[in-house]
Subunit: 467 residues, 2 copies
């Protein structure tokens, strides 16, 4: 089983810093075991490594103050949003202080005319969208979980509609960051584009708290489309579904979402949500545009699907029916867990060039079967990104060992296909060895940047970079 290695602890520094932080933050400073464990909580199979203390910050100044105290005593600092990351990002392998930004939850500014807004990192994506709705705007990135926007920025999150709207990389205009020495920088102003020096915005997006703590984010917004429609279509094989996705992308159809559910997921969803979908691979789509545009898109899709053996095509524009269809997708995680009561679902997250998606998904299905593992697959197929979720009895050491074999094999497969070991979950602790396999000497360059910006390695140590 993948274990998080404990790193050497700076006991003296930690004791000193905790004393100062306690004085400074009073009742917003916590060392109780349950709150510490909750802040080291991780939704992977990686073991929990709790921080020594948790500080609830309310402002950029709070973060800078806490950072300076920790920097002075060389104590690890780990940013915490909602704790929904999947690769051990919030663990504290060398101890230290968790900086909980959940109370920094203000939407600071909405510039409707410019389609942008400025938020604190603790604002969740659902809270932001609730805030925006009356203005006819929305923020499109939807990783499933109601994550904080700070966390989504830090892990370069994406999700179901990245195929149309991109990932966090494409939707962050600027960030304010507290650096390792406590200085505060803003990476860009609010212009839609700029060639002003190094792209520090993109450097911070996806840096998983290892280069600084994000204290403010300027986000691009979208107008709520005039019309939306949804569709689903069943396919005889995963390959046929993937071929359809490739046609859609090549055709340039501006689908907002195109999700793949393999036969096992459809079966799980039927059971969980009391549906009667054909238990074969399925694509689930959403179209955004004008009234005429979404009809045109749906028609173009159905023709492409038919060419690839698609059947049972159904489209709908009423919100109720759309919600019902997408509920099945949103419930997929719980539905999969229900396939094997008592199991733990371990997520994988590879992404390959679209032309290799059919091969990759087919091979993953076959390899899981060969290893006697239950691994239903859902995919953000338009991006070539898919998740095989291993449903494991964590008490069964042999099964866990086979699961490790599968995860390692799958990451290597994606890398061999010119893809990546992580489409959207990040490296965290779990995927550090694969970063080197995937990018070779580029990982050394990442290390050079890390050492330049955080010479004492206090920012989320033990994450991203290989030991």
């Amino acid at each position: 089983m993948v274990q998080a290695t404990d790193l050497p602890r700076n006991e003296t520094g930690i004791a000193t810093a905790l004393g100062i932080l306690k004085q400074q933050f009073g009742e917003r400073f916590h060392t109780g075991q349950s709150i510490r464990e909750q802040h080291g909580h991780t939704t992977t199979w990686i073991k929990n490594q709790a921080p020594d203390a948790v500080v609830f910050v309310r402002s950029t100044q709070d973060v800078a103050d806490a950072m300076k105290i920790c920097a002075a005593h060389k104590v690890p600092v780990i940013a915490f949003g909602t704790g929904t990351s999947l690769e051990g990002h919030v663990n504290a392998p060398a101890g230290g202080v968790s900086i909980d930004v959940s109370q920094m939850d203000a939407v600071l500014e909405v510039n409707a005319g410019d389609l942008d807004c400025r938020v604190q990192p603790g604002v969740t994506r659902e809270a932001l969208n609730t805030h925006l709705r009356d203005q006819g705007l929305f923020f499109p990135i939807d990783p499933g979980a109601n994550a904080s926007l700070g966390g989504m920025t830090a892990t370069r999150a994406s999700g179901t509609n990245a195929v149309r709207y991109g990932t966090m990389k494409d939707n962050v205009l600027a960030v304010e960051v507290v650096m390792a020495d406590g200085r505060v920088i803003r990476t860009a102003q609010r212009a839609r584009k700029s060639s002003a020096g190094y792209d520090l915005t993109r450097l911070m997006v996806g840096s998983e708290g290892t280069l600084g703590i994000i204290t403010e984010i300027t986000l691009k917004l979208q107008g709520i489309p005039e019309a939306m429609s949804s569709a689903r279509c069943s396919f005889p094989t995963v390959e046929a579904a993937c071929e359809t996705v490739m046609s859609v992308i090549q055709y340039g159809l501006p689908v907002a979402r195109i999700e793949l559910l393999d036969a096992m997921v459809v079966k799980a969803v039927n059971g969980y949500s009391k549906l009667a979908l054909p238990e074969t691979p399925m694509l689930l789509l959403e179209f955004h545009g004008s009234e005429a545009g979404v009809v045109e898109q749906a028609e173009a899709f159905s023709a492409l699907a038919e060419d690839n053996g698609g059947s049972d095509y159904q489209a709908t524009t009423t919100m109720e029916e759309r919600n019902k269809l997408w509920q099945a997708r949103h419930d997929a995680y719980w539905a999969m867990l229900a396939l094997r009561p008592g199991c733990k679902a371990v997520a994988t997250d590879v992404c390959v060039p679209i032309s290799r998606l059919a091969d990759a998904v087919g091979a993953a299905n076959a390899r899981a079967a060969e290893l006697g593992l239950i691994a239903p697959i859902v995919g953000h197929a338009g991006d070539g990104n898919f998740h095989a979720s291993l449903l494991l009895d964590m008490e069964d050491a042999d099964e866990v060992a086979r699961a490790e074999t599968f995860v390692s094999w799958l990451n290597d497969l994606a890398i061999s296909m010119d893809g990546t070991c992580t489409g959207e979950h990040g490296i965290g602790q779990g995927k550090r060895p694969y970063l080197v396999k995937e990018l070779g000497a580029a990982a050394d360059v990442m290390g050079m940047i890390k050492r330049a910006l955080d010479p004492d390695n206090i920012l989320n140590p033990g994450k991203i970079l290989p030991a």
Copy 2:
């Protein structure tokens, strides 16, 4: 007049490195004055600072070899593509070696199924589009000049259709880079998205040759749209035209291009291209989509334009008429020069939030008049990016001084509006003081990264970072 400062030269190192490079590269090594001056040539008013030698490289290995020689003797290395940059990017203020990549001009791979390709840095955008045409694909970024893709990547270029397709930042999937110590890295594989560590791709895009030399680029491609149409519309004032642009963006109309020409530019174009356009501010548009989609877009635009006092609206879908319309835009540079024979056009490049565009353009028109300067304005209005081109008699010291006052005032204005001093031309030598005004302490962080990756400052010294 803005002068490029000469930096201290490492005479001994340069002499030694030149000797070794001459041996290694033979007839691909040049020290003739005219070729050196051509490689320090710059299309700004910044003075020419020629390198000591020019090496024509043909492979990544050539670049790595040259880099190692220069690194061993601490000699500056300046990458050169087509020399169309505008802010002194290819100047050699401390002397050194220009690495000319124009012979690295192979399209290495086109993956039509994945809508991507891999090219060497000397491929120009027109050459790439000629190569792609038969496959129904195109590369959308169009900065006007037929620049090399390496140079476009290095300056984070964009141009007329960034409003729809983004900038180089959004269209580069990965780069291969020779670092300051001669090591070769590849920043990403070919997956459409990835969360694998720091975004070195985006760090290299826009780094202007100061962090490494780009030797290969993996680019996203687009399918040639089923239909394209163009339109133009005249407005009583620049403000009315800008208000229309803001409506278009807020409405979410997916225009492929929306260009602003102020009254002086329209007049220039009429004279140069023998047209009879109304000599008031004009918007020029292009729509990409399905046959029905482009009609719908054009209709939606014309309604928005009418609301803002637009008149003389004309739309066309025939290629001949489209080309004629856009030819006027493409000729704008030459047309402006013809307004004042013998003058030099000095480009500015600010970008502001769209909501401030009308104010910014109006203020720029007024300020130029106040200073007695001729400064026609064209703008990539959908991004809030515009260029006032100062038509100067470079022999008139007083006029040049007033132009400097204008440029400085304009950069400050954009920064005060939460915008940037450079939307797409880059910082180079000319805008280094404004980088600090715009981004403050973030510029220091850029310096930390620069020193970590290029400790001897051999990569394009004197660019981007303040002295």
